[in-house]
Subunit: 239 residues, 2 copies
């Protein structure tokens, strides 16, 4: 059974300000929930139409109609879990770090978090203008990777001014990434979907790189930020 206050809390968690206020975020879908239950994240309450056989005090059995009332999805998927937002760890500056300058699309951020997980990027640093990583659409796209990547929201200019790492940024006129020597430790910056890397960040980039285009002159001007990130992380890791 769902209480009114539970419905109210969950509905609020769609919005960033309430996620920050309450310190909770919502996860939907059996597979992702199961994966997160096995992670270091802390469950607050699981609302589900079928028991997960976890501690009874953490689980609330609900009907499909009740799930529809609280779900953020058009087609709810059997369970909805509320987890505690973890406190981010300090940024580990010994390896390759990915930094995002105002990435706005939740699907893109979710895909990028999954890429970090795949390529063993432990630290993702987001500008304060980047979409919140606990946005339900981001969580949906991460497929469970959210628990394995340390994500900090910071003032990127301050962060770059404090680090001695080389800072790589993707630009149309940068050096060919396929022939450039790439280091094991450094920061790769990816920019906003429409505007790319901002002027303020461009000023602190030490190495401009670019993915060569193979199409004809009329070809697309740019790649989607998530696919460009995929190619660049692959280049840094392939050695």
């Amino acid at each position: 059974m769902l209480s009114k206050s539970q419905i109210k809390l969950i509905t609020k968690l769609k919005q960033k300000k309430y996620r920050l206020q309450h310190g909770f975020f919502v996860v939907e879908g059996i597979k992702t929930i199961q994966e997160l239950l096995q992670s270091k994240l802390t469950l607050y309450t699981l609302f589900t139409t079928e028991t997960f056989n976890i501690d009874a005090k953490d689980e609330v059995l609900i009907t499909e109609t009740e799930l529809k009332r609280i779900s953020f999805l058009t087609t709810p998927n059997k369970a909805l879990a509320v987890f505690k937002i973890p406190k981010p760890k300090p940024i580990n500056t010994t390896g390759l770090i990915l930094a995002l300058d105002a990435v706005r699309d939740p699907g893109n951020l979710g895909t990028i978090i999954r890429l970090c997980d795949w390529f063993g990027i432990t630290d993702l640093v987001c500008s304060n203008e980047t979409v919140d990583c606990f946005n339900p659409k981001v969580i949906q796209a991460t497929m469970g990777s959210i628990s394995r990547v340390n994500i900090n929201y910071v003032d990127l200019v301050d962060f770059f001014n404090e680090t001695n790492l080389p800072v790589f940024g993707a630009f149309m006129e940068g050096e060919n990434v396929y022939t450039k020597q790439l280091p094991k430790a450094g920061v790769l910056v990816m920019g906003n979907e429409a505007n790319g890397i901002s002027k303020a960040i461009e000023a602190v980039i030490t190495e401009k790189i670019s993915i060569p285009r193979f199409g004809n002159l009329q070809a697309t001007e740019s790649l989607n930020v998530a696919t460009a990130t995929a190619i660049l992380l692959s280049e840094f890791r392939r050695g």
Copy 2:
């Protein structure tokens, strides 16, 4: 002014069966429409709130309220164009071809078409189970690339049986793509979001390849199909 029959036609074009029946598809957003007007695609009618200064018989000036009635978007973007669906050209089998085995998500297909355009892949071959490339959400994600990639829907098994090209497929247990010699001509097959490459197609794959994972053992099982396609096309092209 919009006529009732125009509203009815456009609304129908949301569905694949009516797109096939009428031979038209819908494009929204000024930038993409402008790009497609300069392509080899044929415009049927442009419905717009601001003139594009094209041949008056091709342009219908409408109000924002009228645009809202016909738009497929939550936030309509000044214009909606109806273009003729082009007849695909025969598949060019002299270079690198990308084949999709039941990719279902419109956003993924759109991103993949944009990747083909970037990497100069002239031919995309889709299984009949793959989402229709003239689906409005696909068009939205292609950012204009739809006019520059030749897309055929075929029975993939028949197509592979008729070709002498090496057929590469992405599998978890495939050969490391970073160290494998990749040819200039061949087919790369990408599978369905949830199930990967189907058994029937697996049987005709001549080379299994894989993108190495760098995360720890608990890391994500797989990459999103669009990001995996980005990395593999980049590997084929980088030489």
